[in-house]
Amino acid sequence: MSLAALQGALAELFVDPGARDRFARDPAAFAGARGLTRREREQLAALSAASVASYAATLVRKRRSEVAHLLPRTRAALGEAFDDAFARWAPHVVLREGAKRYAWDALAFSRSLLSDRSLPSGVRAAIRRDRADLRPAVHPVAALLRNVSALTRARVVSLDR
């Protein structure tokens, strides 16, 4: 079970900025009281805080890349501000489980962007259009409504002919 405890501590370091701060201040204290063997405490405490921080930044970039693919209009409208906003937002939001986790992530991030009332109307419109495209991917009812709407349009075209 202690490997599980070691991996739990590593996961905490990789995703939690607060844990990384505590680790950087006092690695030995962070490694203590976690049900680890002496060897595992030494393994954990010997990790380079800089390497852990660098890896954590890589995780955020990877997650941001996935989300940016799902929010193309938002990314284009915000430019580099998209990256900065995501870097501020992501460490405080847990990635969900499942195949649609990045779609959920993109919806949650775009919702947080919309809460900023100072965004220009064009940017807000871009975010809303991305959200409208994404919702059917995670909400079955939204997918159903989109399909019914498409069928209705097809029927109208058919009748017109």
Binding site: M1, S2, L3, A4, A5, L6, Q7, G8, A9, L10, A11, E12, F14, V15, D16, R39, E42, Q43, A46, L47, S48, S51, V52, S54, Y55, T58, L59, K62, R63, S65, V94, L95, R96, E97, G98, A99, R101, A143
Partner: protein
Amino acid sequence: MADEPVWLGAGVSLRRRHLTEAFVCGDALDLVEIVADHYFAPAPQKNLELRALCERFTVIPHGLDLSLGSAEGLSAGYLERLATLVDAVRPPFWSEHVAFTQAGGRRIGHLAPVPYTYEALEAIVANVERATSRIQRPVILENIACPFDIPHAELSEAEFLLQLTERTGCGLLLDVANLYYNALNRGLDPLESLAAFPLHAVVQCHLAGGHRRDGEWIDSHAFPVPEDVWSLFEYVVERAPRLRAAIVERDENLPAFAELAHEAARARSIVERRRAA
């Protein structure tokens, strides 16, 4: 006497933007790798897409989140979704990583390194055995890119992978770029790292290009395969008798499909040239 491994060919890790071109220009590819997670419980159009891909290509499902290195064991739900996909695709093999992606109730969202200890070896062997008892197709296991190792290892990465293949009978997916960038980030000679790798167990190779950022090499899959990685691949081809496939990966800065197809063709020609010699 065991059958001679059949060379399946070279291809790309397929991304949505290249889907149409893959069908139109598909003669350039022998096989495609798909991210398994993208086809779990798919919508009807994804089911059609998957069926069309399987009719056109040899398809290799590549899992990202089975967390084979996790001491907590496997997620039954993920394993079942992966098994359903592999059952549908019926590939020659499927692939996953020597890594963990979740622990202590936290999802890491990417591949994290396992400590190279005997306890971790036992954990991953048990997980591979559980996975292969459910999924009736062979699995191959990939080395990951990570800028650091967990300190105080009992084994080197190469020794860990060798024992893993011997204990489980699994082949390896050698990501040549991962090995290359890991060596550079540790101040090691990539060729020496490669020479220590259990090449006799390599069934597939990944080829990709990364970049340097803040003094660290990142396997970003954002650039063409660098010449150094091609040279390492040639070294592998000469020493990996079980090699069956080579896949070019690109996730960022997606180029025209023809550029990736050209890289796949280069991989194929290297293998065919070496095997003809």
